[in-house]
């Protein structure tokens, strides 16, 4: 299927290009279809292709030494992934399709050739990269300095109910908004708190199994 020019126009990499430039760019794009669970990018492998999600959802994740997966970003239609490594070297993270997905890909060498021909693309690339660096720094801050689990613990302690359903219920996105982090980080914190033995998740109930431990994680001094 040919790649739609309007789709390309909407990609931050190619904004501000005229139609003839867009047509030139479109010749380098190829379409890739994925089924749920397909790994699209392997951490540690050479980065060859920059991908844009056209339909479906892709997760960008890291796997720890003991096989646990941490989702860093959810990529929805219109967003790209693999941006930084494709301009550098190896894939820093893995990516897999969460649903059936359609992607548009462009090879690293083609993107480089296009940037030489159309300096506007090089400028756009710089803008995208600086945004990515910003996002990475926020993530690093969350992971290393902000003690997200501690703040999630505090919120849980503040929302203890009776289980009768009359208490306001909490969603991960509300917790994320309350403590100023990404939704992905809240899920991670739940798992950390569970591993610490402070809580147990039973479907839509968060059971506090060790309140003292949870208070300690929350930094509440007895």
């Amino acid at each position: 299927m040919p790649i739609n020019l309007d789709t390309i126009r909407g990609m931050p990499y190619f904004s501000g290009l005229d139609d003839s430039a867009l047509a030139a760019v479109s010749r380098y794009f190829f379409e890739k279809k994925a089924v749920r669970g397909d790994t699209l990018v392997f951490e540690g492998a050479p980065a060859e292709v920059l991908y844009f999600v056209v339909a479906g959802v892709v997760k960008v994740f890291k796997t720890s030494a003991d096989g646990k997966e941490q989702i860093l970003h959810v990529i929805r239609p219109g967003d790209s992934f693999n941006d930084v490594p494709v301009l550098g070297g190896i894939n820093l993270v893995s990516a897999a399709a969460m649903s059936a997905a359609v992607l548009n890909g462009i090879k690293k060498k083609d993107l480089e050739a296009l940037s030489k021909e159309y300096p506007r693309i090089a400028l756009n690339v710089i803008n995208v990269l600086s945004q990515r660096v910003q996002e990475m720094i926020e993530l690093v801050e969350d992971l290393s300095f902000r003690n997200v689990s501690g703040r999630v613990a505090k919120i849980l302690l503040e929302h203890i109910g009776t289980g009768g359903g009359e208490n306001p219920r909490l969603t991960q996105q509300e917790i994320a908004a309350m403590i100023g982090t990404a939704r992905e980080m809240v899920g991670r914190s739940f798992r950390t708190l569970e591993e610490e033995g402070a809580i147990k998740i039973e479907r839509n109930l968060i059971v506090i199994t060790d309140k003292a431990a949870l208070r300690k994680i929350a930094g509440i001094i007895e």
Binding site: M98, G161, R169, L205, I208
Partner: protein, 75 residues
């Protein structure tokens, strides 16, 4: 009773279908005014509460709320 279904705000739902595409228990369907969670014969409720629909939704229209309880506070 605590609801067994994800909560959907149809005002916010832009019908992109992403949640339906990732839901493993297949209870989400597109209705005229947005996504709906359906009860079917073999799956009467969202069985896993995996939160993935909430994670992928671009508009925050679908959520999987939790209630927090104390273990020794239960029967």
């Amino acid at each position: 009773m605590v609801s067994n279904m994800p909560v959907i705000d149809t005002e916010k739902c832009d019908k992109c279908g992403l949640c339906i595409s990732i839901c493993k228990c297949g209870i989400l369907v597109m209705g005229d005014d947005g996504v709906k969670a359906i009860e079917s014969e073999d799956c009467s409720r969202c069985t896993t509460w995996c939160n993935t629909c909430e994670l992928v939704c671009p508009t925050g229209a679908i959520t999987c709320p939790f209630e927090v309880v104390l273990e020794d506070g239960r029967e």
